[in-house]
Symmetry: C2
Subunit: 285 residues, 2 copies
C-alpha cells in the first residue's frame, strides 16, 4: 500500500503526515523563490549513492549562504527513519532547504527544512526503446553548480515543449550546450567517444556514474559541446536520477544518427542498472 | 495599533490572521520557485496607482501561464476589504500568485493567491539627504518584464553588499546598466537630461511616474546606458514603490557628481510626493 495520504514528511524537526505539511507564507521560497534542494532514489529501504547527494545538498546550501540545521550524520538518521516509516518499494526522497521565515520578506533567516518521499515511476521500456524528442532553448541558469529551486524558465517552457511534441528542453548558451532543466546531456561521437558538457551545468550524480561506467569501455570527454555538433552525433542521451539513461533520437525535429536509440546508450543503461544492483547488494553500513 | 499578530491575510478565497496563513509544501513556489507577485503602497484606505499595479500583476501572471482566479474588479474588492480590515496608516500590499499545488512537483496547477498587507516605513530624511552607496553586478533576470518571485541572485548578493557597505546592487548586462533587484535606475546627465534604461528591466510604476514628472521640466530619455557612462553623470538615483526616489552618491566606491544628492533628484522627489498627495485628494471612485 502506497496511499499518498499515509506518507510521512519531515518538516523542521518533526514527522507529520503529508497532507498536514505546511510552511507559513513568510517563507522565503514563497516570498522570493529562495531555496535549494536535492533528490535521490530509494529502492526499498536503501538510498542510492546517498553520500554524493548529501555532499551536493550541503554544497548548494553553502553557496546560497544557507545552513543545513543538521550534521550529515544526523540528516542520514532522519532520512533513514523517514524511509522506514513510509516503507515504499521504489521512491524518491526530496530535501528542500528554504531561506526561512523572513520578517521583511527579503532577508534570509533560520532555514526551513522539508524532507519528503514519494513513489517513483521509472521510464517505461517503451520509452527507452523508442527514445525521445527534445527541443533546444538559449538559457543559462543563474548559478549552474547550485541545485536551487528556481525553475522559472524550465516550467515556462513546458508549453513550448508540448507545442512541439518534445519531452525535454536542452539549454545552450553562447553556442554551447549545457544541460536540461532536470537532466544532463551526453553524446556519442562518430569515433565512439562519450562526451558530456563540462561547464555551466549542475554536476549530476547519475552523470558522474555514467562517465565512470563509460570509461571502462570508451574514451570519455567532459568538454564544451557546440550546439551544431550534436546533430552530427552517433547517439545522444540524457541522464538523471529518475530517468537513469534516456536515449534522445530527435533534436528540434531533426533525427540523430539512425533515429533510434543506439547501442552505446542502451549498453550504458544496462551497466548503470547493474551498478545500482551491485550497490544494493552491498551490506548496509 | 498596528500589532503584526492582528493583521489579516487573504489566502485562496478567505481572510485569515497572518500567523495562520500557510501554504502546503506541494506549492510550486516551495517546490520550484514558480510564481509572480506585485506590491503597491497604501496611504490610509487608499491604494496608490492601483490600476497600474493590477495591470502589471495580470500581465506577469499571463506571461508565466498563470491565471489570476479573479477579475480585476473582484480583486479590487478583495483588496479594499483587506485594507479596511487591517486599517493601517502607511502600508504595502503584496499579491503573490504561485504555480499552485503540484502533484508531481513540476507541472503548475490551479494557482494559489496570497494578498498580504504590512506596515511600511519609508526611507528616513537622513537617508534621502545623504544619499546611498551602491555596487554593480553583471546579471540579467530571466524574464525582466515579469515580476517573478525569483530573487536568487539579489538575495545572494546581500552578503557582497554588506561587505562593501553598499545599500543596493545595480545589475548590468553586456556593458549596459539595467535595474536593481527591486528598483529602477535613473541618471541626470551633464546637460540635465533625465535618462533611464529602456530595455531588460521591470517597468516600474514609480519609474513611469517619475518619467512623466521629469518631462514637465527636463528632457527625458529612455535608452541604453553604458556602465561607464554613469560615472560621468551629474546625479544618479533609484526609484521604487517603497523608496520613491533615493539619491545614489557612490557607485563601486567612486563618488557621483558632487558626492551629494543633487537638485534634480530632490526636486523630482518633491514632485513625486506632491503627485501622490494630489491622487490621494481625488474623490474615491
Amino acid at each position: 500500500m502506497e496511499a499518498q495520504s499515509s506518507l510521512q514528511v519531515f518538516v523542521n524537526g518533526s514527522f507529520t503526515s503529508a497532507p498536514q505539511a505546511f510552511l507559513h507564507i513568510s517563507d522565503l521560497a514563497i516570498q522570493r523563490g529562495y531555496g535549494v534542494f536535492d533528490y535521490f532514489k530509494v529502492e526499498g529501504q536503501n538510498p542510492l549513492f546517498l553520500d554524493d547527494y548529501l555532499e551536493r545538498f550541503y554544497n548548494s546550501a553553502s553557496l546560497m549562504y544557507l545552513q543545513v540545521p543538521y550534521s550529515k550524520e544526523d540528516l542520514r538518521q532522519i532520512i533513514g527513519k523517514l524511509i522506514r516509516l513510509n516503507n515504499l518499494t521504489v521512491s524518491g526522497v526530496k530535501m528542500i532547504l528554504t531561506g526561512g521565515y523572513s520578517e521583511g520578506g527579503f532577508e534570509p533567516s533560520a532555514p526551513n527544512l522539508i524532507i519528503q518521499q514519494q513513489p517513483l515511476v521509472l521510464p517505461s521500456i517503451a520509452k527507452v526503446t523508442q527514445g525521445i524528442s527534445i527541443i533546444t532553448h538559449e538559457y543559462l541558469r543563474d548559478l549552474p553548480v547550485v541545485k536551487s529551486i528556481n525553475y522559472t524558465t524550465g516550467i515556462r517552457l513546458l508549453h513550448h515543449m508540448k507545442a512541439q511534441n518534445a519531452e525535454e528542453v536542452l539549454y545552450h548558451s553562447n553556442g554551447f550546450v549545457t544541460e536540461f532543466p532536470r537532466c544532463n546531456f551526453f553524446m556519442v561521437t562518430q569515433d565512439n567517444t562519450v562526451v558530456t558538457p563540462a561547464e555551466n551545468i549542475l554536476k549530476g550524480i547519475t552523470r558522474k556514474n555514467v562517465m565512470k561506467l563509460a570509461a571502462r569501455k570508451y574514451k570519455v570527454d567532459a568538454r564544451d559541446i557546440m550546439l551544431d555538433e550534436i546533430m552530427q552525433a552517433k547517439e545522444t542521451f540524457l541522464t538523471s536520477t529518475t530517468k537513469r539513461i534516456l536515449p534522445i533520437v530527435q533534436v528540434n525535429g531533426q533525427l540523430i544518427g539512425s533515429g533510434k536509440p543506439g547501442p552505446v546508450s542502451l549498453e550504458l543503461l544496462q551497466d548503470l542498472i547493474a551498478l545500482e544492483q551491485s550497490v544494493l547488494a552491498e551490506p548496509v553500513k
